[in-house]
């Protein structure tokens, strides 16, 4: 298909037809063989050549040949119109059809020639060359990062809020720790040989919250000391006063 002038091979028409780019291509090649201006081409002679070529086909691959046979039929029709006495009722007239066929052949021929002339021009990379190693024009993107102070602080708040486990710390509240209560109760027990209320061990304070904490811690402290066998606990009934006494 790369060859611009395929050579017809009459012995194997199937292959030969494959070599043509359609019936028009075949017609054009035959027309050019007449070596006259395509506008002056003898359509009668061309028709005879074309039909003879097709008739010489010993075997036809039908799907390839269909277009060629249609063209042959059309040319045979055109030839008969040209040879028969003029019938003015036929429109378009045979002369008009001849003109159109000539124009078509000229158009294809012109484009074929134009293609060849294009390919023959001074082409870049074949005949003329661009610079071998252009430095290139660099477009340096100077990114200017933007962020507002608020974005920064909001981001920090977001991070902390997202990642820290909720941790609840009781703030501004004095408490008596268990260790402190154990130490206090142990010390006070030395003075209290008899049954004494737990409340009497509590420190004097006006802070009710601290008093509550001291009571709770001291109670746990007495339980711990009782477990250690250092004191005894007594209570008459639920929610009644708690009495403690040192173990002698």
């Amino acid at each position: 298909m790369d060859d611009f002038e395929p050579v017809p091979d009459h012995s194997t028409l199937t292959l030969t037809l494959d070599g043509w780019e359609g019936p028009l291509d075949l017609l054009l090649t035959l027309a050019r063989a007449q070596k006259v201006d395509l506008a002056q081409i003898s359509i009668l002679a061309l028709t005879d050549q074309y039909i003879a070529y097709i008739d010489n086909a010993s075997s036809l691959k039908l799907e390839v040949a269909a277009d060629y046979l249609v063209m042959a039929a059309w040319l045979a029709y055109l030839k008969s119109c040209l040879l028969l006495p003029k019938d003015p009722t036929i429109d378009p007239s045979p002369e008009e059809l001849v003109l159109r066929l000539q124009l078509r052949l000229q158009r294809l021929d012109a484009m074929r020639e134009a293609g060849a002339r294009l390919l023959g021009r001074d082409r870049i990379g074949r005949d003329v060359f661009a610079r071998g190693s252009p430095e290139g024009l660099a477009l340096v993107r100077n990114v200017q990062w933007k962020a507002a102070a608020f974005d920064l602080y909001a981001a920090y708040g977001r991070v902390r809020a997202r990642t820290q486990p909720a941790m609840h710390v009781v703030a501004h509240r004095s408490v008596m720790t268990l260790e402190h209560a154990i130490a206090r109760v142990s010390a006070l027990l030395g003075a209290a040989i008899d049954w004494t209320t737990l409340e009497s061990f509590l420190p004097a304070t006006i802070d009710p919250a601290y008093r509550k904490s001291a009571l709770a811690s001291s109670f746990v402290a007495t339980l711990e000391l009782a477990r250690q066998g250092r004191l005894e606990i007594e209570q008459d009934k639920a929610f009644d006063e708690l009495y403690v006494r040192r173990v002698a």
């Binding site: 294809l108 012109a110 484009m111 074929r112 134009a114 294009l118 021009r121 870049i124 290139g136």
Partner: protein, 188 residues
């Protein structure tokens, strides 16, 4: 040589692609570089390297008459099939044109891949659709086509004026399509 000439010369030497006068102006920070470009092209006339304009884009290239010196070490550019060459010519001389029109001129269907090859080469692009029956896709050539084939513009297509004068580039009349009668109708 003026500073502007120097700047334009350097810009076009450095650019990996042909540039329009407008792009060059932006690059060198000047308006109206056309006249300077023309002057620069004149200055290079007769050199081994020339400044040329193709489809409104400027680039430096080696002088065509030195091809024999430079060709030996290089590969031939892609060889186009006959079908692709004819397609390219038909598109260039008729653009924008449809696949149907290309097939009508060649009298044969375009096999798959033919237009692809031309588009891959960067010479042909799609150019919208024609309003009308079937809204066929249209094809046209690219600036790279002009650059590659050394054409200042489509006016420089070989023989285009003569072909036009002879009516060979006129829009195809429907009647001509009927030449092949049934076979074309089937495809249409």
């Amino acid at each position: 040589m003026t500073e502007l000439e120097r700047a334009i010369e350097a810009t076009l030497f450095a650019s990996a692609e042909p540039m329009t006068a407008e792009e060059i102006g932006v690059q060198v920070g000047a308006d109206d570089v056309e006249a300077v470009l023309a002057g620069l092209a004149e200055r290079y006339a007769g050199h081994g390297v020339e400044l040329v304009t193709r489809g409104g884009r400027w680039h430096f290239q080696t002088a065509p008459d030195l091809a024999h010196l430079l060709r030996r070490t290089r590969d031939e550019p892609r060889r186009l099939s006959r079908a692709a060459t004819e397609c390219l010519a038909i598109i260039a001389y008729h653009e924008p044109t449809s696949r149907g029109e290309i097939e009508a001129i060649r009298g044969v269907q375009i096999s798959k891949g033919t237009l692809d090859v031309l588009m891959e080469a960067g010479w042909v692009r799609t150019a919208g659709r024609r309003e009308g029956p079937g809204r066929p896709l249209l094809y046209a050539t690219t600036p790279d086509f002009l650059t590659h084939f050394g054409l200042g513009s489509r006016k420089d297509l070989p023989g285009i004026d003569d072909l036009k004068a002879a009516g060979l580039l006129d829009p195809l009349e429907e009647a001509i399509f009927e030449l092949q009668l049934e076979s074309d109708d089937e495809e249409g």
